[in-house]
């Protein structure tokens, strides 16, 4: 307990403290470096400062990256698991093949994918084998972005999203508890949404100048590599789940006239909700900590594909800006906590109920 206290919470505390100092710049490596308390300046600078634009792009990347990784890895993993659940011939071999990427370390698979996605080789020259022109998609070096938004509007966008989630939850609850759903979720959601829509101008800009961030096309290659690496893992999870559903249940469903699709859609997948949740939790924090794969694939070279963890490393250990690095680490830590704490609370409550 004491060890955990010191080595986990003590160090977290120390990092928080460091992030509130100005430890960095020249002389930061002295035996007794000069550190002054400057409060939240590092954070303010990261989110609204002139030089924090790289970090903001990284954060946006991390969001797109996490969402696409989750959708891709869970979706593809589930799809493969359903196929394998049909008990095709050679299932064992296929299962091994699909699971194998998990065994590679990110740095290795990252290097391999970097070769595959090289602009003048790899995947791009595949069409030439059948006599077509080579593709020219610049996988890892594209500067183009889609789904671009202006960072100035960040607060408005966040409020819109909150309103959207509130309304969504309200609609979902409508069937169960009408009064509460309307009072607690729908009305606040609509009010916030309408307020932002009508009076958005009085909400302050998040930044003093226009700054656009979006989903960078070069990130696509990195997401593909991660999905390739992790879909085998979710496949294994789902496959175990499918095998755990008793054959009787399946037979009963079939007797009632369920199709294959219907069986998975209404019975198997809903039954595996715990598996889906744990896959999402695990993958989302992996995507937040993603470092080596990106380092190997685009590294610090195409910063458009950056990731907060990578920036944290570069800021701290190459630029010697320890305070700022610590601030980035704490931001990452808080985002990870956003995913994990609700899960832990949910687990805890469930255990209390049992």
């Amino acid at each position: 307990m004491i060890l955990v206290g010191v080595f986990v919470y003590g160090f977290i505390g120390n990092t928080i403290w460091t992030s509130m100092t100005d430890w960095g710049g020249s002389g930061s490596l002295a035996l007794e470096p000069e550190k002054n308390f400057i409060g939240l300046d590092n954070y303010i600078d990261l989110f609204t400062g002139f030089l924090g634009s790289g970090f903001r792009q990284d954060l946006v990347n991390a969001v797109y990256y996490s969402v696409l990784l989750l959708a891709g890895a869970v979706g593809l993993g589930m799809f493969i698991a359903i196929l394998l659940d049909q008990k095709p011939r050679g299932e064992d071999v296929l299962r091994t093949i699909f699971l194998y990427p998990m065994a590679l370390s990110f740095i290795v698979s990252g290097t391999i994918w970097r070769w595959l996605l090289a602009p003048q080789g790899g995947i791009n020259i595949l069409p030439t084998y059948v006599g077509l022109k080579p593709m020219t998609f610049s996988w890892l070096s594209s500067q183009a972005a889609i789904l671009v938004f202006n960072w100035q509007d960040l607060l408005r966008i966040l409020l819109f999203m909150a309103a959207f989630i509130l309304i969504l939850v309200g609609l979902f609850m409508l069937r169960r508890d009408q009064g509460r759903a309307i009072g607690r979720w729908l009305i606040p959601g609509i009010v916030i949404g309408a307020f932002v829509w009508l009076f958005g101008d009085i909400i302050p800009d998040a930044l003093f100048m226009e700054e656009e961030h979006g989903f960078n096309m070069a990130t696509l290659g990195i997401i593909m590599a991660t999905i390739w690496q992790y879909s085998g893992y979710t496949m294994a999870l789902y496959l175990a789940g499918f095998n755990g559903i008793s054959q009787d249940l399946r037979d009963a469903a079939m007797l009632d006239g369920a199709t294959q699709v219907g069986y998975y859609r209404h019975i198997a997948i809903p039954m595996l909700k715990p598996i889906t949740i744990s896959a999402v939790i695990i993958l989302s924090h992996i995507s937040l900590k993603m470092f080596d794969l990106i380092f190997a694939m685009t590294g610090p070279d195409n910063a458009q594909t950056g990731h907060p963890a990578l920036t944290m490393y570069l800021t701290t250990f190459r630029s010697n800006d320890f305070a700022r690095g610590a601030a980035i680490a704490i931001v990452l830590f808080l985002i990870a906590a956003m995913f994990i704490v609700p899960y832990l609370v949910g687990q805890y409550r469930q255990r209390g109920r049992d």
């Binding site: 030089l51 634009s53 610049s138």
Partner: protein, 436 residues
């Protein structure tokens, strides 16, 4: 019982995993370069007659370092030399290892570092280095090295490292036969370049080959030097000229214009690939440091002056933007006397002229024996003797690590927004933060 067994199994599995993780990087390093010692050995306690040399010279550069060590051993036969090499281009890994060792209070006897602010802004500011002025005076190096160079590796408090080689960063490379075919002359100014570029673009040739991000920084310094001139360039780094001054903004807008003539897939190429584009005839020019000459001479077996040609980058003739590898003496070096003897070898004429032809660079000394160098290096050495010497930003001479780290993000910002004003302003903020 069952529980104990399970926990034992779990433990074993965990150990195996840990072992597995630990092995990986070693394999990789061995693959990258068969360095004499792949990892820095634990520092020897201050006993015995050792000399630990910490560097990132492995692979191609290994033999050059070995040759230096040979000379040292001949002069100091009873010293046991420990060659602690950490692989990784430009010292990216070595610098991290060095940081942990210095912060842990276990400095090597002498370590490699890029000469200039990278050393001064990091370790000298932190008061971790010894002043080498007495050594420079005793050895007569004050006269042997050009005055401009000594100024750039020193501060008003002393001189901080012994440069072993000089590389030039502002060089433009081309293939003479190709230029003739396309009817283009090597441009002496950027205006001439833009004229040539229009012609080349019409013929479907990329005017200027560019590679990953650091080469954009590399290109920027050559363009900025051409745009503002050597005096302003020096004023910039001594804090006398603001980055967001008209001169600073002008440099960025010229850089933006130059970028319009580069290849779109730059960020996924290495500098060698960009050089290859020139050699293949896909691109006309490339601005890269003179290690490109080493690559074209040694790897591509081209004859300097025939297979490839060079010129100082447009608008910078008479100016020599330099970068240098050097060795310094950390405070608390365990074998200080041996380290000083090592530094003497590095600065000597013999050491310098043995090392540099092998490394593909020129000697920092003005009296070096030019007959040992190839055609390109001879011309570079001649220029170094007479040109105005200025420090490179991309390679650590002009600014410290804080600025360099931040400059990379300013560059990204510019590559995206293409706004000279914003980039200049960002540089100004960065300079303030980095204490320039």
């Amino acid at each position: 019982m069952k529980r104990i067994l399970t926990s034992f199994l779990v433990l074993t599995a965990a150990m195996l995993l840990l072992l597995g993780c630990g092995e990986e990087p070693k394999e990789q390093q061995a693959e990258e370069a068969p360095a004499p010692t792949a990892e820095a050995p634990a520092p020897a306690p201050a006993k015995g007659n050792d000399l630990e040399i910490f560097s990132w010279w492995a692979g191609d550069e290994g033999p050059a370092l070995e040759a230096l060590i040979e000379i040292y051993k001949k002069q100091n036969p009873d010293v046991n030399v420990i060659n602690a090499t950490v692989t990784g281009g430009s010292g990216v890994n070595a610098k991290a290892v060095l940081k942990t060792r210095m912060l842990g209070g276990e400095p090597p006897d002498s370590f490699q570092v890029h000469a200039g602010q990278e050393l001064i802004g990091t370790w000298v500011k932190a008061d971790r280095m010894e002043d080498l002025t007495p050594l420079f005076e005793e050895q007569g190096w004050m006269d042997a090295f050009p005055e401009g160079l000594v100024k750039l590796i020193g501060t008003d408090k002393g001189i901080w490292s012994v440069p072993v080689n000089i590389h030039r960063s502002n060089v433009m490379w081309y293939v003479p036969a190709n230029l003739e075919k396309w009817g283009v002359n090597p441009p002496k100014t950027w205006d001439e370049f833009f004229d040539a570029a229009a012609k080349l673009k019409a013929a479907g040739i990329i005017p200027l080959a560019l590679a990953e991000n650091w080469t954009a920084n590399h290109l920027w310094e050559s363009v900025a030097l051409a745009s503002m001139g050597a005096d302003n360039w020096d004023a910039l780094w001594s804090g006398k000229l603001a980055f967001d001054s008209p001169e600073g903004v002008k440099a960025w807008s010229l850089f933006g214009k130059v970028l319009e003539n580069t290849n779109a897939d730059a960020s996924s190429l290495s500098w060698q690939q960009a050089t290859d584009m020139v050699l293949d005839g896909r691109a006309a020019f490339n601005i890269m440091g003179d290690w490109a000459a080493g690559y074209m001479t040694t790897t591509k077996k081209l004859v300097p002056g025939e297979g490839y040609g060079w010129l100082s980058s447009p608008g910078t003739s008479g100016q020599f933007m330099f970068l240098a590898d050097s060795f310094g003496l950390p405070k608390g070096s365990p074998h200080r006397d041996n380290a000083i003897a090592w530094l003497k070898v590095l600065g000597s004429k013999e050491g310098s002229d043995t090392f540099n032809p092998l490394k593909g660079s020129i000697s920092a000394r003005t009296d070096s024996d030019l007959s040992k160098y190839n055609g390109y290096l001879q011309s570079a050495a001649a220029d170094f003797g007479k040109d105005r010497v200025v420090g490179s930003l991309a390679h650590g001479v002009a600014a410290n690590e804080t600025f360099m780290g931040g400059f990379a993000s300013v560059m990204e910002m510019f590559l995206k927004s293409k706004s000279p004003e914003a980039a200049a302003k960002a540089c100004a903020q960065l300079a303030e933060k980095a204490g320039i």
